[in-house]
């Protein structure tokens, strides 16, 4: 167990995980855009949920007020996070739970693995959780000889298919029913109860196959692992919101329950849940109320797990909190509405984001939690046309475009940031030297109308020699689009010649 608390000065973490080794976003997207099945699957899925969400949100007359309230509750909590974290430790401990602090993924994984080993168990059942995906818990447990079974339907599909999640809510969104049937048929037997003979791709049959496969795991498991959507500081209550009911099984049947929760998941009071239990389901699954809301406070004799451990995870969150513009990303309640409306996500797919957090939120979260040193993380802030659709739907009003631009500045220009609890001045990322020079030159020219005019005239006079396609870096435009024709004279020459058409020919 560790006693390091977020925010307290300590030795810099010696063992930050290696930067992720994924290709830069444009290269990954290059493949995905050409995958017709993937494009079809994503288009169908995101457009369906997009329309449903819009309807579910339109029903609520005070949506704007709820959105603002959610934003303010989160901002308030983040501003006083040190205080609320201590309160959570007190209330959870008083209710019979044990609180552990993990500064990074490695420490969190170690804590969980040790806790499981103490029980003597070699298997755990898991509730769908982003935090455990973020830290790579399943792989870490595997390395210790412990098998973790995902019980959420979509997570199960990803796990059986040895795949990576591509969506926050529906990690297997990139798969269609036929692909899922094939995975069930070939893989279920290796993990436990095989798929029924003659399984088809009917949704009801697929769900039933998963139910039967999972049931024996629920009944056998002695250890459950979860995350949480919220932790209520005043009582030390954890909240998991879900649709399938598998979570309820994992939270109630095992003897030991271990919950790994990011420190930003705290809300001060039960009253605050009123807001999020309205905005989360409607934004996420377009449900008015999600079918299962499980809440537990420590342990209770003869009811549910007899041992409860809460692992509070930092893993880059206090660094993110230190950044004035970027910290709003910590308001995220992981509803995935921003993914579902994002035109870039729809075409590039979730895997291109090189993280368990794909889509717009991933593009601002990963480069903050992990830093901008790797190729993928330095490319994520540019994985957006800044169309603003994500901001519009976000139930906690995270201005994702604002953070993207802020992170672009960090990548292109370097500057102050916080890494591992220390203030650092980042150097610009590689590959931006030419761009910087161009931007500087353009600024110089554009601050001087005479220079701009000279450039325009040059372009106009040489227009007969302009090619329709460009070599080198220009191909990024002309590979798929023609260049516009250049006019004979820029507007300003016409204006000066005719005084706005008042003199001479129009």
């Amino acid at each position: 167990m560790s006693t390091t608390r977020p925010g307290t000065p300590g030795p810099p973490p010696s063992s930050r995980p290696d930067p992720p080794d994924f290709p830069a976003f444009p290269r990954a997207a290059h493949q995905a855009v050409r995958d017709r099945t993937l494009r079809g699957n994503l288009r169908h899925a995101t457009h369906t949920i997009r329309a449903k969400r819009a309807k579910a949100v339109a029903e609520v007359s005070d949506w704007a007020a709820l959105r603002e309230a959610g934003k303010q509750i989160k901002d308030h909590t983040l501003r006083h996070l040190d205080r609320y974290l201590e309160q959570v430790e007190e209330t959870v401990t008083a209710a019979g739970g044990t609180v552990h602090w993990a500064v990074d993924a490695e420490e969190a994984n170690r804590i969980v693995a040790d806790l499981v080993k103490e029980t003597g168990q070699r298997e755990v059942v898991k509730v769908k959780s982003m935090a455990t995906q973020e830290i790579g818990l399943n792989e870490a447990l595997e390395a210790e000889g412990i098998r973790a079974y995902e019980t959420d339907l979509a997570e199960l599909i990803v796990q059986l298919g040895k795949d990576r999640p591509s969506h926050i809510l529906v990690p297997a969104i990139h798969r269609n029913r036929g692909e899922i049937r094939d995975i069930f048929r070939s893989e279920m037997g290796k993990w436990g109860r095989p798929a029924p003979e003659g399984l088809t791709d009917r949704p009801a049959e697929l769900a039933e196959a998963a139910r039967l496969h999972l049931r024996e795991k629920f009944l056998r498991a002695k250890v459950g692992i979860s995350g949480a959507n919220f932790v209520v500081a005043e009582t030390g209550t954890l909240v998991v919101v879900e649709s399938e009911g598998n979570g309820r099984m994992c939270l109630t049947l095992p003897e030991t329950l271990i919950s790994v929760v990011g420190i930003e998941k705290i809300v001060p009071t039960w009253r605050d849940l009123e807001v999020f239990l309205q905005t989360l389901p409607r934004s996420s699954t377009a449900e008015r109320m999600n079918p299962y809301t499980s809440m537990w406070t420590g342990t209770t004799d003869g009811d549910g797990p007899s041992a409860f451990h809460l692992v509070l995870l930092d893993n880059g969150r206090t660094d993110t909190l230190a950044d004035e513009v970027g910290r709003q990303a910590l308001r995220c309640i992981r509803c995935s509405a921003c993914l579902n409306v994002c035109p870039v996500y729809e075409r590039a797919g979730g895997h291109a984001y090189g993280s368990v957090y794909p889509g717009p939120i991933g593009a601002i979260l990963s480069p903050q939690l992990r830093g901008t040193a790797s190729e993928i993380d330095a490319s994520l802030p540019y994985a957006s046309s800044l169309c603003g659709a994500c901001y519009e739907v976000c139930p906690v009003a995270i201005d994702i475009p604002e953070v993207l631009v802020h992170l672009r500045e960090r990548v292109a220009q370097g500057g102050p940031a916080t890494r591992g609890g220390n203030k650092v001045v980042l150097r610009p990322a590689k590959g931006h030297t030419a761009e910087r020079a161009v931007m500087r030159a353009a600024r110089w020219a554009l601050a001087r109308p005479g220079v701009l005019r000279g450039g325009q005239r040059f372009v106009s006079r040489t227009r007969r020699f302009h090619p329709r396609s460009l070599p080198g870096p220009g191909r990024a435009w002309t590979g798929t689009r023609d260049l516009p024709a250049v006019p004979a004279e820029p507007f300003r020459d016409w204006w000066q010649r005719t005084h706005g058409g008042k003199e001479g020919p129009r």
């Binding site: 035109p343 292109a412 554009l446 689009r481 516009p484």
Partner: protein, 251 residues
């Protein structure tokens, strides 16, 4: 009223017809419009690519050029959004960085009086029928910054519906981004082009011959895809449609 046209650097260089159309339209509506020739660029491309410090002198220059006019009109939703939404943010950032409130104060005067063209027509001049004539089937793409940052709503469509001879057809998936996104178009060319191609296909499906929008940079991207795909449509800026009359029609 002293009204200045802020044409934008892209329009000035590549789309002078749009500028002439704005002048013609506003003059017809009785507005005395000036084009201060010291104008250059609002700094949006710099800002959005992560070069905020390079954008600052351009914003100052913008304010120097335009601050004494009563209204600043621009035929670009995204440049209008830059001034209205991002100039105040730029000033506030400078202040939190300990650079005082100078930038904020310098930029403040131009923020509330900068209008996107359709906004100026509907809200300031109070007209929706501008006396235009344009006998074509047209579909309208609301560009993202006009739609979401400025909240132009149905102003452009109201203006288009009042144009004589014009048949306005709804664009499927209208509110989805066209994929231009400034430097996004060259940093992520595959996704950008895929978005653009979908937008063009949607536009084509309406049977319209003209795709209208209020931002020439989006139209440059879409027009480049149209000719590449061999689609029989052309992109036209809304100013050129609204400027067109029976006596002096634009193509």
């Amino acid at each position: 009223m002293r009204v200045a046209l802020f044409l934008t650097c892209v329009n000035d260089t590549l789309y002078p017809d749009t500028g002439r159309a704005v002048v013609k339209l506003l003059t017809r509506l009785g507005v005395d419009v000036d084009f201060p020739t010291a104008q250059t660029c609002c700094g949006q491309a710099h800002y959005n690519t992560g070069y905020r410090h390079e954008a600052e002198p351009l914003a100052r220059h913008f304010s120097d050029v335009f601050r004494d006019y009563e209204a600043i009109v621009t035929p670009s939703g995204s440049c209008a959004a830059m001034v209205r939404e991002l100039y105040p943010r730029m000033g506030a950032r400078a202040r939190t960085e300990g650079r005082g409130d100078t930038l904020e104060r310098v930029l403040a005067p131009v923020v509330p009086k900068t209008y996107e063209l359709t906004e100026f027509l509907v809200d300031v001049l109070g007209v929706t029928d501008v006396g235009a004539y344009y006998p074509h089937r047209v579909t309208y793409h609301p560009t993202c910054h006009g739609l979401r940052a400025l909240g132009l709503g149905d102003r452009p469509r109201r203006l288009l519906r009042a144009v004589k001879g014009l048949e306005l057809v709804e664009l499927p998936g209208a509110e989805e981004c066209c994929g231009f996104g400034g430097t996004f178009s060259v940093k992520n060319p595959d996704v950008s082009a895929a978005m653009g191609a979908d937008k063009v296909r949607n536009a084509e499906s309406t049977g319209a011959r003209v795709l209208c929008a209020g931002d020439n940079s989006c139209l440059m991207h879409l027009g480049g895809i149209m000719t590449r795909l061999g689609v029989g449509m052309r992109p036209v800026h809304i100013a050129e449609i609204l400027a067109s009359t029976e006596e002096a029609p634009s193509a």
